[in-house]
Subunit: 204 residues, 2 copies
């Protein structure tokens, strides 16, 4: 998090940032697999050596980018959730915040389109556990605390809900700007319906 304060000013931090920005652009436009490290280095006006000085591998470069995006976004969603007294309203607010973030081209494309391809499902799930997934279980737990949804056993419910969020995010990431508003409204339907359904479901 805190950048190493090099004695030689922020020259080194600047190249690292340039690499992350270049990677964000190219990975978003061409995709992770279709972008070579030489492309990223050239776009940042350096060579491949600089990449491997700052990051462990091509995957490591993507991970740093991904971690950055998820950190800020999950923070915003959690803030939206905790700003509300009522957990039910908090969930809706967090969902709205999330759907807005997905409409932003870079976040949607990298997190929901490229991340599985770049990191693989195992690594991706570790990050999910760290960020969005943890927030999601917190929110579901708060809802359960109010008796609004039933007790559940394993983690099937949050996983499936997360699948819904991924699908919505991926859909929004592919939606042209002029339709975003309408699609975002459509995306809210299944989530509110699920909440309604869960609240009227008795334990079995």
């Amino acid at each position: 998090m805190v950048e190493v304060k090099s004695r030689r000013g922020e020259y080194t931090g600047a190249t690292r940032r340039a690499l992350l920005d270049a990677a964000a652009r190219l990975f978003t436009e061409r995709g992770f697999a279709q972008t070579s490290l030489d492309d990223v280095a050239a776009d940042a006006r350096v060579t491949k050596g600089a990449i491997y000085h700052h990051f462990a591998s091509k995957t490591g470069l993507f991970e740093a980018l991904f971690d950055e995006l998820e950190h800020t976004e999950s923070g915003a969603a959690r803030a939206a959730f905790e700003a509300c007294e009522d957990p039910g309203a908090g969930v809706v607010a967090a969902l709205d915040q999330f759907l807005r973030a997905c409409s932003e081209p870079v976040y949607g494309a990298l997190v929901f389109r490229e991340a599985p391809l770049a990191l693989g499902w195992d690594t991706l799930q570790r990050y999910e556990a760290k960020y969005s997934y943890g927030l999601l279980t917190d929110m579901l737990g708060a809802l359960r605390g109010t008796g609004r949804i039933p007790i559940w056993g394993g983690d099937a419910l949050p996983r499936v809900v997360f699948g819904m969020l991924s699908a919505a995010g991926q859909l929004l990431a592919r939606t042209p700007p002029e339709d975003v508003e309408r699609v975002r409204a459509e995306c809210r339907v299944p989530f509110t319906a699920l909440l309604v359904g869960l609240s009227s479901t008795t334990d079995s």
Copy 2:
């Protein structure tokens, strides 16, 4: 679909089948990216030349495998759906059939774990449109016909539902056999809840 009836018997068809079987095994165990074509060829007792004689590329090999699996599975799910008079019961039956198929190691691993990585989202969506996605919209349409769920505009709802199915499938594919029964029951919860919620949702 119909195999070319070579004059020299089914020797050529046999190698093609051996290649598909070897690919299914290795892709399931090690994953698509971690399996080289030489590995597949060696496992089938042939060389890489045989692969490129029968398939256009590594992706093409996976596609043939994927298409085969999806064809049989979507057929089974559709049969389960159409065997019921009531669309509501049909949806439940199709869901059960689907969740059972996901518990089978090869189908779950290849379709929900490897397919996005091997084919990419665009190609994958074309296959979804051909198979599971088409069935899904048919089922939702039948439910809509009975007035059990509201009218919806775009394709956000089926997409999100498909995301739920993918998450459930992926979860089941990673579940050890002794827990499959329990997890499968847990997976049914959000789907039935969604149906309940949709049926009690009025148009907005």
